[in-house]
Amino acid sequence: MGNLLQKLAVAADGRYFTADEQRQIREYAESLPARLAAMHNLEQIEEAALRSAIEELQEHFPNFSRYHDQAWARHFRDLQLVVRAAAVAMVLDDPQEMDDQLLFWLRTMFAANNYTPAFVRESLVRLGVAVRNRLEADATHWVMPYLDRAVQVLSEFPEPATAAV
């Protein structure tokens, strides 16, 4: 756990940073403007991407709203949390930050709501496509690995006894 700088600081206990560690720090520092720009770009397109993904999902899962009160509004909020957690983790260059901060917790909620792994996967894949279609090319490079990771982590839970999607 911990981002690159924290990990390197722990590893360098009692000594100076090695040449390779200095290179990693320099590369990370040089990447920060691009990471922050990608976050800003993501913030700008967040609403449109989420609305697009939710509209597509509503067509494919017409019964979802029968099972849950305020189902789509709630799902919008959950996917919004994923996008924002991905942005923070991307800036920090720390995928595990996203797991601990949000994904494990959210996955438990999805399972407790009797969502299916396929529904969650479909939701996040469509969200990823909607984001990719709207982001600038540079931002896509930084953001998409984190959304891809969210697909993997969040859809990894057992099938519910009675699906509610």
Binding site: H68, D69, Q70, L81, E97, Q101, F104, W105, T108
Partner: protein
């Protein structure tokens, strides 16, 4: 509990480690994000407590003492959890959607090192909640040579859920990692239904008996 959560503030996991644990190294103290003191108890301490109680009081009484302590602790932990989570999410814990309560409890146990929990409400109509725990430490380290049960965890669950449910609930452990099962399993229900049943019964057998039982739930 409410069926919707869309109007909750967009906040993530209260127990996220980087935010949850705050250390004051000048004072040598540690607190959670709400300011409650935290103390790391190493496994050697747990082993010493369990073995000393057994030596002084015998296994049966030691088990009762451990469960009693853990039950009292569970009540207080439940009370504290409700206060902290209510403040964090800006809504009464008891008004949170069930899925969110499940996620909060799961993360609470996971981040305090008690293993990964899965709460199963499929027998709720029978007045039963099942808790499955991966990687519980207690039974595996306290008396690994004789396949110990997770008495502290069982008492903790009983006390916490009694507080959350607003009525007395007992906890019966069926499967145990310390006895070679893949996960430890616990059954929570009213204590009257658990009377005369001993821990360590095969899970499916114990569950089937309890579901047939018509005692008030």
């Amino acid at each position: 509990m409410l069926g919707c959560s869309h109007d909750l503030p967009p906040r993530g996991n209260y127990f996220a480690w980087n935010a949850y644990v705050q250390q004051n190294l000048h004072a040598g103290t540690m607190f959670n994000r709400s300011g409650a003191p935290l103390l790391i108890v190493p496994d050697e301490c747990l082993v010493a407590v369990v073995r000393t109680l057994e030596e002084e009081w015998g296994e049966e009484q030691a088990t009762e003492i451990l469960r009693s302590i853990a039950t009292a602790w569970g009540r207080r932990a439940g009370e504290q959890l409700v206060q902290e989570v209510t403040a964090f999410y800006g809504r009464s814990f008891m008004d949170l959607p069930l899925a969110m309560v499940t996620a909060v409890l799961t993360e609470a146990f996971r981040h305090h090192g008690w293993g990964t929990f899965r709460l199963d409400f499929s027998r709720y109509v029978h007045g039963i909640v099942i808790v499955e725990v991966d990687n519980p430490l207690e039974g595996s380290i306290a008396r690994p040579d004789c396949g110990a049960l997770d008495h502290i965890l069982s008492g903790l669950l009983s006390g916490m859920w009694s507080y959350l449910a607003g009525r007395e609930l007992g906890c019966l452990q069926t499967d145990a990692r310390g006895r070679g099962a893949s996960v430890s399993r616990f059954i929570l229900t009213v204590p009257e239904r658990l009377m005369g049943r001993s821990a360590g019964l095969p899970h499916d057998e114990a569950l089937a008996e309890l579901c047939q039982c018509t005692t008030a739930s």
